[in-house]
Symmetry: C2
Subunit: 610 residues, 2 copies
């Protein structure tokens, strides 16, 4: 839960210019000044997560407390609400008191200067040049370079063609007063008169979702954010099926590249329009993603990524022209792509580790980003190692008979009483339609606790709620409805799937820990990134042995930390250097050839003793 104040419906902020994209409604987080564009109804806490804002929650944003038990009548009358209990679906301003922000967020927002001091790659400098005449017919570029030297003591030595074209136009439109965007000694854009706002765009290109953040480059603050689906999903749900799609037909690669860039452009355009700005003010871009997303968005060959030994085209930072990959930005803007670590450990993982403080002190850390591939990193004794493990989509609800994504209708929390009575929480308070990853994990932990399954995950026949037909593997009934076809059950196969996924993850964790000689109690911080991490109950996760034995207070869900890292790198050249250093420091362990991997896996699949 989190405290939310004075939600005014609808808000009276100046609305953005209408765009050609569908904007259902906007949420303005005050006094932070982030605007989130939304299409579907959301709880305020979910919206905050999308906006990259960490709210201090006890319930994990799951809305398990009632407002009346935590807020006084006076507070309620004054407009205070719980973020996890308030669903919005129309324009709204939300005031977030500093006490509701997590510590790191408070530091980041209130005292950001001490956290990531904004030091953008691009500076904007106003100059006034003499207007040309027959007596002074010097070239446009030289004229501006002279003014930059004279007025700002900076040298401009380079310019890309599209930026030069914009410079010529701006000089005449601005009647020889222009704002020049300078990236080192390179002019990347020029604007007549003064530039309304220097913008940057950070994007976390996920396999499923794109998280786009519009950042004020001067302050480093996020001013608008939006998450949209990755349209590449049309070519396959997961990374491997997309890589296969390019191998089936080469043109699919170019089409996927276009699709993702178009989605980013549309979202950037929306975000800019919501502030009355234009994408041509975007002077810098930072994009992170797993290595396959990274390669696909650059149209780099991915065949080697799909086949053993899974070699990426590069594992260095890449600096390309934004226009070169089709991004709508300032004419000469660059796009910065932080280095992938390996074929299956991408720059999104690097961004997560960066945001989580890896490489900056001597603390012992374990970082996990759970997905179809789960990336894991451990820092200990001055070393950092990472690995990737093919955990499969079970935690995303796939390959599970009644599995579904964490959407309305999904069972997300399960309690089993000693007598076998099952109590389920369903997202959106409606009849259960399926079960999502955190629900399955909960169910497993509860089934183990009350003894419905044993250490190897076998369902014990005859226990309450266990069904078993002839020649059939047993099944556990979660919800019992009049219409039996709509019963939500967990089968032995489901449990095996989940245990395989958890085994793969735990094996990766154990290998990295053993490699660095770390045990559970040594770990100062266990950081779980991503949406799944946010919904994960660390007690249950430890109970089924997904996580090693780490004191609960040291377990933190860090939300979209990859997006945070991307924004940090966007905001500061220093952070980019730090990220490149970090990337070089991170060792990569290939689990497939790690001695004794199978033993780790078998051990990982097993449930801990009660």
């Amino acid at each position: 839960m989190a405290l939310v104040c004075k939600a005014c419906f609808p808000n009276h902020c100046a609305r953005a210019a209408p765009t050609r994209y569908r904007v259902t409604y906007t949420i303005d987080f005050e006094p932070i000044g982030i605007r989130l564009l939304c299409e579907d109804p959301l709880t305020v806490s979910a919206a905050a997560r999308q906006a990259g804002l960490s709210l201090r929650t006890v319930c994990g944003g799951k809305g398990i407390q009632a407002e009346r038990s935590l807020l006084s009548e006076e507070q309620l009358a004054d407009g205070w609400r719980l973020a996890c209990r308030t669903t919005v679906s129309a324009d709204v301003s939300v005031y977030v008191p500093a006490t509701s922000l997590t510590e790191s967020q408070v530091i980041q927002l209130a005292g950001r200067a001490s956290h990531v001091e904004s030091c953008p790659v691009v500076d904007v400098l106003p100059v006034t040049t003499a207007s040309p005449s027959l007596a002074d017919p010097a070239a446009d570029l030289g004229r501006v370079a002279d003014a930059l030297r004279r007025e700002h003591d900076v040298g401009a030595a380079r310019v890309d063609l599209p930026a030069l074209r914009s410079l010529c136009k701006a000089l005449r439109e601005g009647e020889w007063r222009v704002s020049v965007a300078l990236r080192g000694d390179e002019i990347v854009a020029a604007y007549p008169g003064s530039l309304p706002r220097a913008l940057g765009l950070a994007v976390d290109v996920g396999t499923t979702k794109l998280a786009c953040y519009l950042v004020d480059l001067e302050t480093g603050q996020t001013i608008a954010a939006k998450g949209v689906m990755n349209p590449q999903i049309a070519y396959g749900e997961d990374v491997m099926s997309r890589l296969e799609a390019t191998m089936v037909a080469q043109e699919n690669a170019a089409q996927m590249q276009q699709a993702v860039i178009e989605a980013i452009n549309a979202t950037a355009n929306e975000l800019c329009a919501s502030q009355g700005l234009a994408t041509e003010y975007i002077l810098d871009v930072c994009m992170v993603g797993n290595t396959a997303m990274h390669h696909l968005m650059l149209n780099l060959p991915v065949r080697p990524l799909a086949l053993s030994p899974f070699v990426p085209a590069l594992s260095a930072p890449l600096d390309a022209r934004a226009w070169q990959i089709g991004l709508s930005t300032a004419p000469g803007a660059h796009v910065y792509l932080p280095p992938p670590i390996a074929g299956f450990v991408g720059s999104d993982h690097l961004a997560f580790l960066l945001a989580a403080g890896f490489g900056q002190d001597d603390r012992t850390r374990l970082g996990i980003d759970i997905g179809t591939n789960t990336e894991i990193a451990v820092q200990a004794g001055g070393q950092i190692v990472s690995c990737s493990t093919a955990s499969g989509p079970a935690f995303e609800g796939a390959h599970i008979r009644h599995g579904m994504r964490a959407a309305p209708g999904a069972v997300e929390r399960v309690c089993i009483a000693e007598d076998g009575r099952v109590d389920c929480d369903v997202i959106g308070d409606r009849p259960a339609a399926g079960i999502c990853g955190s629900g399955i994990l909960d169910a497993l932990a509860e089934m183990r606790r009350v003894g419905i399954i044993n250490e190897r995950g076998r369902i014990t026949k005859g226990m309450p709620g266990v069904r078993c037909g002839d020649n059939e593997l047993p099944t556990f009934l979660l919800t019992n409805r009049s219409d039996a076809r709509r019963d939500i059950t967990i089968s032995q196969e489901d449990i095996d799937q989940v245990l395989l996924a958890k085994g793969a993850i735990r094996a990766g964790i154990e290998i990295l820990m053993d490699y660095l000689g770390v045990t559970g109690p040594d770990i100062d911080e266990l950081l779980i990134a991503g949406a799944f991490g946010t919904y994960l109950d660390p007690v249950k996760a430890t109970c089924i042995g997904l996580l090693p034995d780490v004191p609960l207070a040291r377990v933190h869900a860090v939300g979209n930390a990859a997006g945070d890292g991307a924004r940090m790198m966007l905001a500061s050249t220093h952070v980019r250097r730090r990220a490149a250093d970090l990337a070089r420091r991170i060792g990569y362990l290939e689990l497939a050839i790690y001695p004794g991997f199978n033993k780790y896996l078998v051990r990982g699949v097993r449930l801990p003793p009660l």
Copy 2:
């Protein structure tokens, strides 16, 4: 005339792979090793000029000596021919003895090392990398960078996306042995195994013609050359009409850009194919042209070039990606565009001055490139100044009643006897169809010599060959045929046009000379660039006052010196730096506002006293 040996028809050289472009025939110049691709019949001396080869001629390549008067029976039997008297139209090998090369050419070709030592911007280095495995899944780029450091002690820090794509492909095709093209610390291409030949392309983009030279980057030698029409001619014959075309319809600019690049690509492809090579081996490009051509090929805004004060977008060297402007080259090749000097003094003029030795010693030099706009530069006392003068197209045969380009049927030489009998030389030895620039200049000089025109260019009525109807300005009859409609005449208006052109040029020359305090006899070298310069008779040009009084031995036609300069800059980074230094040193004088310009013009128009 020039000596030409052992012309073997047809040649037995290995023919190039067939291309999709029309190649009528090829001329191989031996032992120099330049292959010229031709479509129309040419004299060997004209072909040599197109190939950028300066032959030592007395007649100026005009074929006024008979072969039998200069070559012995034995020589003729042995296959020796005069270059100016031998027209070729089929595949041929031409052996050029060193004695037939001009001094500078001999130096350039025989001892080029001492002249322009080849020092290309791009190096090609072979490397062998370990093939990847699960134990060594390092990225392609890092693998190659390591090998470069290990095997060649060079660092590769940067790579453009298309080059990275080619690197990934080459590594696998070459089974981890590749040739890497490195431009400083940037990888611009990679080839499986070894690269057949590292190529460079130099282009002189003229308003009328494109001269393309294929250069071996390792030796710096030209290996094939071809001149083609600039297809932009469809948008206007001269620079101004093309600039106007972009102002009438903006899309014309992009179309003109495409047209010229397509023509260059087609020609480069032909040149490569003639050597059994491919354009993907072109690792570097240097293009020169007047400022309008420069801007049009980059699609830079040209409106400011068309209107006073004629401001270019830039007057700095520009380094762009070849693919960025549509050139077919190695994937990451750059294109180098030397700096234009001013709106009407382009990088072709800079290239000419560079090739002519401006800025390299203290000699007093006058350099002229005559065209619709004539660019002039004077070097004296450590200073170099340049100007451009609107001389109009009279010297190209335009705006002259019977004017035509220097093509078969054009009167190119005129002699008038004291009795008024006129003797004309016609290009291609056929009935006269018109008169070209050098013919007009000749005619004027002769008319002045025998007194048919006075100091102000007025035709004296009653002189032999002068016709004058009632109320008509007089006309001078050049050729008298039975069919009077096909008579070639020179009218008073024609003379006025030519004198205006010559006046503009002479005014420019005088202003620059006065500005630097130089008189005719001070000039150590008077260099005339371009085709017109080659055909110009310096005696006649001095006689009508086009050129100042400079001892004849100091007047040199330097042919396509802009193409020479482009090739020099292509071949050597040192020369590029020298060119950039030279460009900074060249002052530009705007004649339109030069004090007393009109007086200079009036004086320039007048013919010198006899």
